[in-house]
Symmetry: C2
């Protein structure tokens, strides 16, 4: 199985590394990071650079496609080579997937039209602009599309996909391998559960970079 993870400048690392470290451990699986411009691709915090060895054209038919989000997503909303590639690989992929605001890129490329999908809670309403039905769930499966809510939700999506691809035993073994028995120290991971004042002042405390 071949998994392609598309990177672009100012991506959020955890969006893609969560799914990577789950799906990349399935047997007989090759993961390739791809980008429009191979070479070092720098993340949103600007202190992490991943060395991308493949261009988009080098990966014409991956089995699984993953697009993550991050502040750089806004620069990837215009049609161009990434959108072209997404439309092309989507024709033959077993699964086309996204995490966080990566879903907006898939939506803008036109592949999610008429589908139910999720994205970061702060961006959910924007899906309607692309004819996609915003769905406030952590992981949404519709057809061969799997979309995940914000950042850390990619881990849940990847374990769900691992089960669909390789069976429940393999997925449970992967969950045990990465010891994914989460114990968040607060109950603040969703706008539904976080204190109202935290939701209201989030973007003051952490302005989008």
């Amino acid at each position: 199985m071949q998994v392609a993870i598309a990177l672009y400048p100012e991506f959020t690392a955890l969006d893609v590394i969560g799914p990577y470290d789950v799906l990349g451990r399935l047997p007989d699986t090759e993961v390739v990071f791809v980008a429009e411009h191979p070479g070092l691709v720098r993340n949103d915090l600007r202190s992490l650079s991943i060395n991308v060895v493949a261009g988009l054209a080098d990966m014409p038919n991956p089995d699984v496609v993953i697009v993550g989000g991050g502040p750089g997503q806004t620069e990837q909303m215009s049609d161009g080579s990434l959108h072209d590639w997404l439309r092309t690989v989507d024709r033959t992929s077993a699964w086309t997937t996204s995490v966080c605001t990566g879903t907006l890129i898939l939506a803008a490329a036109g592949v999610l039209t008429g589908r139910r999908a999720t994205t970061h809670w702060g961006a959910l309403e924007h899906l309607t602009e692309f004819g996609v039905t915003p769905t406030h769930e952590r992981v949404v499966i519709d057809g061969h599309y799997a979309t995940a809510a914000g950042v850390s939700a990619g881990i849940d999506m990847a374990l769900t996909l691992a089960g669909l691809i390789a069976g429940d035993d393999a997925a449970q073994a992967l969950q045990l391998l990465i010891e994914y028995a989460p114990e968040p120290p607060y109950n603040s991971g969703s706008p539904d559960s976080a204190p109202v004042e935290i939701v209201e002042k989030l973007f003051t405390l952490f302005p989008p970079s």
Copy 2:
């Protein structure tokens, strides 16, 4: 605040990227990936290379030190420059931390002697060999040491630390930002909750790389 994340060949990416994408978003925080040999450092799955720009000697007094785990941990158990650096930075760090089998490296370097600590569930018993008390909890704080269980536990550790460093409001805002409201599709993240047959055959399904 300066955070140093030590990498070595065959590290597990999620071990370090979880804490990175939490602590790296705290205000006025600089994260630097460091390694004995700067340049591209390749992970356990061999499909991800991070460009490390600083050597150990370039970061003599970070406020927070993070050591992750992975199959490459076994090559980091002998005394040498990484151990020297860990002992040195530990003298002035506010927090010396580890995720997964990174705890074994800290233990082997001698900085955890007499402390309570945790690591990946499959490695927990080995802590006794270094005079460290194995503690089967997801996050263990003892003095200025914070240790996390396997792989994904680094996210919980980092949110705990974020609260101790920057306060509960900041930590809750970070949890909301990364939408960390986990919903694992199985209940298999710990040897206590996973089906017995999954625990027993884990290392057959996923042999250490």
